[in-house]
Amino acid sequence: MIAEFGLAALWLAAALAALQFLAGSLGFTVRGGALGSVVRPAAMVQGVLALTAFAALIVLFCRTDLSVKLVAMNSHSAKPFIYKLAGTWGNHEGSMLLWVTVMGLAGAFVAAVERRLPEPTMLATLAGQAFVSLGFYAFLLFSSNPFERLDPVPAEGQGLNPLLQDIGLAFHPPTLYLGYVGLSIAFSFAIGALITREVGPAFARAMRPWVLGAWIFLTIGITAGSYWAYYELGWGGWWFWDPVENASLMPWLAATALLHSASVLAARNALRVWTVMLGVVAFSMSMVGTFLVRSGILTSVHAFAVDPERGTFILALLAINIGGALTLFALRAASVTEGERFAVVSREGALVFNNVMLSAILGIVLFGTLYPLLAEALGAKVSVGPPYFNPMSALFAVPMLLVMAVGPLLRWRRDSFARIRASLAIPAALTMLAAIGLAIRVQIGVLPFLGLALAIGLAVASLLPLKGCDFRRTPLPVWGMVIAHLGIAVALFGMASESAFTVEKLVAARVGETTPVGPWNVKLVGIEPVAGPNWTALEGEMHASYRGGAPATIHPQARFFWAPPQQTSESALLTRWNGQLYVVLGEETGDGRWQLRLWWKPFAPLIWLGGLLIGLGGVLALLGRVASDLRRIVARGKIAYRRQRQGR
């Protein structure tokens, strides 16, 4: 019953999206004016209905209703409750339902609160949002129905991939999806602005909180995903330029560029065309990412060709949405002027330069991710991995980081280096000192070397905009910028340090033996069997002591899940301020020894700490923007009230 109820809600939501699209497209013409009033309510009800459908699926998963095919395929009655719940989106259909739900809710929220833009632009925007949603509703209803029943009802479900049975699953996909799909609002705003030729500061200000919000979720989602892969996969890797990872990085790069160019448009009425273009590109990257992950094309181009229904569907959606938006852009771009001019050496100049660099990195990641698919279609298999992506993206990232250190110190419109030369002396000197020190003391690769030296200078430079400021009166968005830029420096330092200084030790140890790894001594004290709700495990007890200090006890596990049968390793982590000890328990060898893998990763946690700082910076900026928007609304209300009283 719940399944049918959910399916009905989904159909109704799709019908409302169709109504919203039609009424919106007709409503901003003169003759259809009356229809326009339907659009906002339709958007809100559509959001609620999509949420209802998603809630129905959650209930089905929590109850492990095995008469529903999706539940039977992906869940199991013996799974802990949290994974039953999170299992709702741990599969194809559920995650696509989450996608349309977030899209519907975002549209509903915009319809409810956004009043700054001219009404025709809003109608075009909401119509655009409904059009994109409609495609994804069709995808769900016609080729990925999450509520399909199964007859006969199986006695037990097939279970969830044990690698996914981690608290990470509860947070990582929803966070990332909020980011991906939040960008759809920027996309729709760009469409609305292009159709009604209203590309200006008001458009940028309306769009900016949405871009910021989506970008925060993307940042946190990518950071959390990276940490999850790091501790769950058991080999200490945190980023591999894997297509799935790239799929999340590409929207982030585009959104980062969009965020900065929208700031220029909002503050200075410049970069109009470029901002609209990025608005289209950012969500297009979300859709490309979804296509890559959801179509099965990554496993093999041939697997995609054998069962092409879903892939073709998403590909068609991609072609219609991105192709349509780019066509509209091409038609209108000529009539949108670039806006205010500015000098090379100016805040805008630095932002434009870094926008171009971010776009170039995006180009590298996109092409490098798609090329193996292209090559396979041509009949040859190639792999593109870290040896390609690292240096090629560094080619553009290094100049970008340099400009990032300088940009926030420059004034808008026109400035000179002579004015800021003195403030830049300290970070520049620190970078030089670090470079010299590293060159003399250690032998490391070119990229980690550049990363460490640049990170130190950048960290100091990122704080300079606060110099001489009264901290209580510094606007929140400035704090946000400073903290986000500092986060980049912190993450960069962690990445470079992890890559340059990690110590690895693989040993076969007997109980009682001590293994040195870097500054640590790790003693294997014992191995005990333990049991969880749907697994059994061998758990090692180890005493880890840092430079001969008091030992801390850690418990790495080798887990054996029975539904589905699979073995995973639960690594044990020990974090200090200057790094992380990472221990994995492997298999028993024939002669009573245990395979152990140990790593000492100096400053590795800074990678994720930096990611969190970047996200925190976004949160502060968003709070600042929303607060000033609210103040403006309240002030406007007061003026209107006063006028009314005077009029009487």
Binding site: L233, G234, W235, G236, G237, F240, D242, P243, V244, L298, T299, R341, F342, A343, V344, G349, V352, F353, V356, M357, A360, G363, I364, F367, G368, Y371, A375, L378, A380, K381, V382, S383, V384, G385, P386, P387, Y388, M392, L395, F396, R414, E504, K505, L506, A508, S569, G586, T589, G590, Q595, R597
Partner: protein, 140 residues
Amino acid sequence: MKRLLLLVMLMLAAPIAAQDTMPPAPYAYRQLDDPAKEARAQALMETLRCLRCQSQSIADSDAPMAGDMRSQVRERIAAGEDPEAIRAWLVERYGDYVSYAPRVTALTWPLFALPVVLLLLAAVLLRRRFGGAEAGENGA
């Protein structure tokens, strides 16, 4: 000499090891004693694809085949072979797919042309943006 002896021992040991329930290859989970050589092996392993996994290098996979390949890489490095020679040998055996570092070939040259194109494009974009800036300033 010592290296040669080790190799002979390894060759003798391998078939014996294969007789019972196929334990992992000798150097699948064991590092080389010489840290410099181990570092070289590690750097190479990180850029070789585990052919039985989805997007993992042989340096971070539990798959038996990845273990075998790690062992082969370490043994060849221990025998003094050049990492790029080992890569070439593996590419010859398994195809280009095994290496995450694409070679420049008739098929892959666009990958390497792209950064150049992007650099040029960036230069043109920035030039067009700022080229007229001075004139604009004068006019304003």
